[in-house]
C-alpha cells in the first residue's frame, strides 16, 4: 500500500518537474503584442475577418497584415482601441461613434438585417417595422449592406446630458 502511494507520488512529482522544464526551455516565443490585441478583440472566434479565430486576427494585426477595421462585430469602439494600441491613425476615428438607425417610413419588415446583427441589436419580426436598440448597437454596418430599401443608415450617436461634457479649453498661446 505505502509502496504504491509513494511510487505514484514520486512519479507525479517527476513528471511535473519535466513539464515545468519543458515549459521553460521549449517555449515558443510569440509577440507579446498578440496577447494584448487578443484581449481587445471580442474573443468569440466568429471568423468574419477571414482569419482563423481572434488569435489569428490578433497575429495578423500585430504583423501589419490586416487593417484595424478588420473586425465587424467590434464596431467603431474596437477600431479606435486598436488604432490607439497600434499607433495608427484612422480617418473616421474622430467625432461621436456611428450607430445604425432605421427610417420607419421606408422599412418594409423584410427581416434581412436582424439575423446579420452580431449583437442582436435589431428587433422586429418579418413584416413588422424593425428598430435598433441603441445601447447594443456597435455601428459595424453589417445591416446597412443588406437593407433593400436603404432605410438603414449609420448616424452619429446623439449627445445627451449624460454623455455631454465640457470641451478642452482652446488656448491662444498653444498650451
Amino acid at each position: 500500500m505505502i509502496a504504491a502511494v509513494l511510487s505514484l507520488t514520486i512519479l507525479g512529482v517527476f513528471c511535473g518537474w519535466l513539464l515545468g522544464l519543458a515549459a521553460r526551455y521549449l517555449r515558443v516565443e510569440t509577440n507579446p503584442l498578440n496577447e494584448e490585441l487578443q484581449q481587445l478583440l471580442p474573443g468569440v472566434n466568429c471568423g468574419q475577418c477571414g482569419f482563423p479565430g481572434c488569435a489569428g486576427a490578433a497575429e495578423a494585426l500585430a504583423s501589419g497584415k490586416a487593417p484595424v477595421t478588420l473586425c465587424p462585430p467590434g464596431g467603431q469602439p474596437l477600431v479606435q482601441a486598436l488604432a490607439a494600441k497600434l499607433g495608427v491613425t484612422v480617418d473616421a476615428a474622430s467625432g461621436p461613434p456611428l450607430l445604425a438607425h432605421i427610417n420607419e417610413a421606408t422599412c418594409i419588415g423584410c427581416a434581412h438585417c436582424s439575423p446579420r446583427c452580431p449583437t442582436d441589436a435589431i428587433i422586429g419580426a418579418s413584416k413588422q417595422i424593425h428598430g435598433v436598440i441603441q445601447d447594443a448597437c456597435i455601428g459595424c454596418g453589417l445591416c446597412v449592406e443588406v437593407c433593400p430599401t436603404e432605410c438603414l443608415q449609420l448616424r452619429p450617436a446623439t449627445l445627451t446630458l449624460k454623455t455631454w461634457y465640457w470641451p478642452k479649453p482652446a488656448l491662444s498661446f498653444g498650451g
Binding site: 471580442p42 449583437t119 442582436d120 465640457w166 491662444s172
Partner: protein, 490 residues
C-alpha cells in the same frame, strides 16, 4: 461653540447689496411653464398625466422611478399642453424630457389634508412624506432629500448641519428666507432631526448676514437641540465638506461622503421645503430665487414657480438693462452659463444672474507662471496647476493621481489665477473624458457578452435542429417497423 478652519478659500466681492434688502416677492405663474422631468440626481420621473389633461396646483405630474429619483408636481392649475423635449437648464442647451403646463390663471389647489401631527409618525414615515413632496437638496446638489435622510439615519449621524452660509456672491435667497421665514425653517429642522433621530442641529450662517443671524437665533430660542453658529465669510464656507470642517475640524475622507464624519448637511431651503410639505401638504412646486446682476433692471428675490422660464423671471424683474455679457443659472463661482433665456428654472436653481461686460470680466488666458496661488486657494488641498497641466495634455490618469476626483469645482483656483486660466473647465473636461472612457469600456464588455450570447443561441438552435432531424428519422423508422410488423402479423 469652537470653530475650526478649512484650508484655502478666497474672498470674492459679495455684490449681495443688489438684492439683499429686497423682500421676497411672490411671482404669479406665467402663462406657460416648462417642467423638466429630471430636476434631480438619478433617473427621470415618469409622467402620470396625459396631454390635454387638466391638473390642479400641487397635483402629481410625474412619479419618481427607482431608488434615486424624485416626483414632480404641478406648480399651478392648468392644462398639460405637451410632454416632450425642451431645453435643459444646462450649458450645453441639450434637451430634457419636459412637461408643458398652460396655466388657467386660477391657481386652484388640489384638496389638501395637512397631517395633524407629523411627530406622531415614525421617523421613516417622515422621509416617505418628504419623498412624496418631491423634495431635493436645494443648495444645488439636487440629491433626493428623503434618501439622504434615510442613509444618514442608518449611518447614525450625530449632527445635522443646516447650511445658511450662502457664500456665493450675488446670492441672497437663503438670506431672505432666513430673515422672513425663520420659524418655518426651524420647524423643518426639528422635523428633519426627528426623521434622522439625531440629537442636535447647528444652523451655520456667515457673519455677513447679521439680520438673518438675529431672526434665526430668535426662532430657535429656547430649543436645546438647535443653535445658530456664526461662521466667518470666506468662499466656499457653504460647501458641505468645508462646512463640516469648519464645524467639527474633521476632513471628509477622499472619495467619501460628508456623513462619514457623522455630520449631515442640508440647506436652509430644504428645511423650509420639509416644513411646508409636512405642515401644509405643500409639495416642492416653488422656491426662492435671486434675480440679480448689473444687467437686471430691478434685482430682487422671488418666490417663483418651478418651470418658469428665465425670460419670465427677468421680465418680472423689470427686464434687462443694456446687453447681457453672461447669463448664469446660479452664482458667478459655480453657476452654469445659459445658452438661452428660454430655459426653465428648476428645484435646484438658487438664482439667475445677468452680468454686464464689466462684471463678467471676460479675459483671455495666458500661460501658467507656476505662482502657486491656485494651490493656496484650493479648499480641498489639491494642486490645480498640476491637474490642469495633465488634463491639457490628456494625461487623464495623471490628473486622477493628483486628486481630480476630490475637486469640488468651487472655482476658487480659477478666481485666484493671475493668468486667468479656465482651470475648472480643464477639470470638468478631464472628468467628462474619463467618464466617456469608462462608458466605452463598459460598452465593449457588453458587446462581448452580447456576441457570446448570440453564438450560444446559434449553437443551441443548430443543436435543436440536429436533434429534431434525428427524432424525425427515428420516428420514420419506427413507423416503418410497425408497418412491417403489421404486415407480418397479417
Amino acid at each position: 461653540m469652537k470653530l475650526f478652519d478649512f484650508w484655502g478659500g478666497v474672498h470674492p466681492a459679495g455684490h449681495k447689496h443688489l438684492s439683499a434688502d429686497q423682500p421676497i416677492r411672490i411671482m404669479p405663474p406665467p402663462a406657460r411653464l416648462q417642467i423638466p422631468l429630471q430636476q434631480h440626481t438619478g433617473l427621470p420621473a415618469l409622467p402620470v398625466v396625459k396631454v390635454g389633461e387638466s391638473v390642479c396646483k400641487g397635483q402629481l405630474l410625474a412619479r419618481g422611478q427607482g431608488a434615486v429619483s424624485a416626483s414632480v408636481h404641478a406648480p399651478t392649475s392648468g392644462t398639460i399642453s405637451a410632454i416632450g423635449d425642451f431645453t435643459a437648464p444646462h450649458v450645453s442647451g441639450l434637451p430634457l424630457p419636459t412637461i408643458t403646463l398652460d396655466s388657467d390663471g386660477e391657481d386652484r389647489w388640489l384638496d389638501r389634508e395637512p397631517l395633524p401631527d407629523p411627530f406622531a409618525l415614525v421617523p421613516e414615515q417622515i422621509a416617505v412624506h418628504i419623498a412624496e413632496a418631491g423634495i431635493v437638496g436645494m443648495g444645488g446638489a439636487n440629491f433626493p432629500a428623503a434618501l439622504k435622510l434615510n442613509k444618514a439615519r442608518q449611518a447614525k449621524v450625530h449632527t445635522l448641519a443646516v447650511n445658511g452660509a450662502e457664500c456665493e456672491p450675488y446670492m441672497t435667497c437663503d438670506d431672505r428666507l432666513m430673515r422672513e421665514r425663520a420659524a418655518g425653517i426651524v420647524d423643518g429642522v426639528r422635523l428633519m432631526l426627528y426623521a434622522l433621530q439625531a440629537p442636535q442641529a447647528v444652523i451655520a450662517i456667515e457673519d455677513n448676514k447679521p439680520d438673518a443671524i438675529i431672526s434665526m437665533t430668535a426662532a430657535c430660542h429656547g430649543d436645546p437641540q438647535i443653535r445658530v453658529v456664526v461662521v466667518p465669510s470666506r468662499y466656499p464656507a457653504g460647501s458641505a465638506k468645508q462646512l463640516i470642517q469648519l464645524l467639527t475640524g474633521l476632513e471628509t475622507p477622499a472619495g467619501g461622503r460628508g456623513t462619514d464624519t457623522g455630520v449631515l448637511v442640508h440647506n436652509v431651503g430644504t428645511a423650509y421645503a420639509v416644513h411646508r410639505a409636512l405642515r401644509q401638504a405643500h409639495p416642492l412646486i416653488s422656491r426662492i430665487v435671486t434675480i440679480s446682476g448689473g444687467a437686471v433692471a430691478e434685482p430682487q428675490n422671488l418666490e417663483a414657480p418651478i418651470g418658469a422660464l428665465v425670460e419670465d423671471l427677468l421680465g418680472f424683474c423689470g427686464g434687462v438693462n443694456g446687453e447681457i455679457a453672461k447669463l448664469l443659472m446660479g452664482g458667478p463661482m459655480m453657476g452654469q452659463p445659459l445658452p438661452s433665456r428660454q430655459t426653465p428654472m428648476v428645484k435646484g436653481t438658487n438664482g439667475v444672474l445677468a452680468l454686464t461686460a464689466a462684471e463678467a470680466q471676460l479675459t483671455t488666458p495666458s500661460p501658467c507662471i507656476r505662482c502657486g496661488r491656485c494651490v493656496d486657494a484650493c479648499p480641498m488641498g489639491l494642486m490645480p496647476l498640476e491637474m490642469s497641466k495633465r488634463a491639457r495634455h490628456d494625461d487623464l490618469d495623471g490628473a486622477l493621481a493628483f486628486g481630480l476626483i476630490d475637486c469640488i469645482s468651487c472655482g476658487s483656483c480659477a478666481y485666484a489665477c493671475p493668468s486667468h486660466i479656465p482651470l475648472v473647465q480643464y477639470f470638468e473636461y478631464a472628468r467628462g473624458a474619463l467618464e466617456a472612457q469608462e462608458r466605452a469600456e463598459q460598452k465593449s464588455k457588453e458587446t462581448r457578452r452580447l456576441l457570446e450570447q448570440r453564438q450560444a443561441r446559434l449553437a443551441r438552435a443548430e443543436q435543436a435542429k440536429v436533434e429534431a432531424a434525428a427524432k424525425r428519422l427515428a420516428e420514420k423508422q419506427r413507423a416503418k417497423a410497425a408497418k412491417a410488423g403489421v404486415g407480418v402479423a397479417a
